[in-house]
């Protein structure tokens, strides 16, 4: 299994260090220092998100599954992947957002209706590197297509992030998809109490940067 993350920018690099500290498995992090890094957009948010969409193309080799984790994730669980399991036939798996989303445009509304929920791209499972690269190739292309639409006067902006592009990309690929439990990416918890009391395995927050491996926050 290969665990990979993207950290474009100082804040994400700091957060990726926390991720590496708290997770016992080896994690490879792609930063601007990688010789494959090229600036694709002057906007740092768009630039960073595009590299996330393209992440699998920075992996030279991987044995078995590929796990992508956002840089701002962390765990308080020892051996967090010991209980991770997906169906044998699953090609791609993710944690969904809750709620029924109603969008102001038909492209994203069709993507939501297709999947039945909005995809959270913070924690994703890919059966192997080939599947990861195929999805990323489509994902990064769709993201650039979305980026062309970014015009606040027309009602779209970069703050839609990367996930709608992923959802649109997956609509065009014929993969077996599995939905994961929210314990693999608990992103809504904001307080120390909520996190400490939770049974979830991975959390996502820009706060609590000072935590160390399996210690109290």
């Amino acid at each position: 299994m290969k665990i990979f993350s993207i950290a474009i920018g100082e804040q994400y690099e700091l957060e990726s260090e926390r991720l590496k500290r708290t997770v016992s498995n080896e994690i490879e992090v792609f930063t601007k220092l990688n010789n494959k890094y090229i600036q694709v957009n002057q906007d740092p948010l768009i630039d960073g998100l595009w590299h996330k969409c393209n992440f699998a193309n920075y992996i030279n080799e991987a044995e078995g599954a590929v796990i992508f984790m956002d840089a701002d994730m962390f765990t308080l669980t020892e051996n967090p992947f010991s209980s991770f399991i997906v169906e044998e036939t699953t090609d791609f798996a993710y944690v969904p957002y809750t709620g029924k989303w109603h969008l102001p445009d038909t492209i994203r509304q069709e993507a939501f209706n297709y999947h039945g929920h909005k995809i959270n791209s913070g924690f994703m499972y890919f059966k192997n590197l080939d599947i990861a690269k195929t999805i990323c190739n489509q994902w990064q292309w769709e993201y650039l297509e979305r980026e062309k639409l970014y015009d606040e006067d027309k009602g779209t902006s970069k703050h839609e992030y990367d996930e709608w592009a992923l959802m649109i990309a997956l609509m065009k690929l014929n993969y077996k998809i599995e939905v994961l439990d929210s314990k693999w990416n608990e992103w809504e918890f904001k307080t120390k109490f909520e996190i400490e009391e939770s049974d979830s395995i991975f959390f996502q927050s820009h706060d609590f940067l000072n935590i160390d491996k399996i210690t109290n926050i």
């Binding site: 989303w101 109603h102 027309k154 009602g155 902006s157």
Partner: protein, 250 residues
Amino acid sequence: MDILNFISWIKGGRVVTSVDSTQTLIPVGLKDNRRDDGYLAGAITVQDLAAQIGSGAIPVLNTYPVTTPSEAGNTFLYRGNEWHYMTQAEIDSIGWTGLVSVGFPAPVSKVYENTIIYVGTDIPATDIRFTQGASNVPTIPLDRFNKIFTIDFLGLGNPTKYAVTAGLYTPQGTQTVTFRNVQLLAGLRDLGTSLSITYQFAGLTAQVLNDFFTALPPTTFTVTLNFQFNPGSATCTPSIATSKGYTVIV
């Protein structure tokens, strides 16, 4: 009179802390261009001088004041902004008749801060909350479900600000809520991954949600409204808002 005389008076113990303002005179220089030095010596009573100067500076308050009818029309500084105690005419002019009393402390301009005021049957009119970012989440205390109250968006109309607000988390019960001045929410936009408005578990009915959607101004920003887990979530009409550019989660 010169400075040496003045000093000698002080040395003579003639410094006082209070005077009869109607009988006490203060020396003044009266402008007189016929004189070589341009001024003519004169006097004014303390009473007349005080009346002419007035109180001057606007008082700076460290805590949000209570409604004070006798202060109606007067201003004060609070949290770095200018506020005033409202007159009846001001209250009527913005549609708050019956909602707040004369002397209610309000921002002079509605575009100053991300200010929300809760007013309810058991919530004091002074229960004012500020939301200046997603980290400051106003919540209705747990004993305030099943109540009737109004949420007035006093200052969320500033188009140059991110206006993120969240709250109304109540674990059970229903709320009879009236949102007022929703049309002021012209500055809403998602702040990073934080949604513009999150009112979950808020006891909001479909009618309240639809009224909210109807009152919203059109937007060109990325604005997401999260109204999950309300009694009206499944039966409201989000298209009222999406047609104006909003994303709605129910």
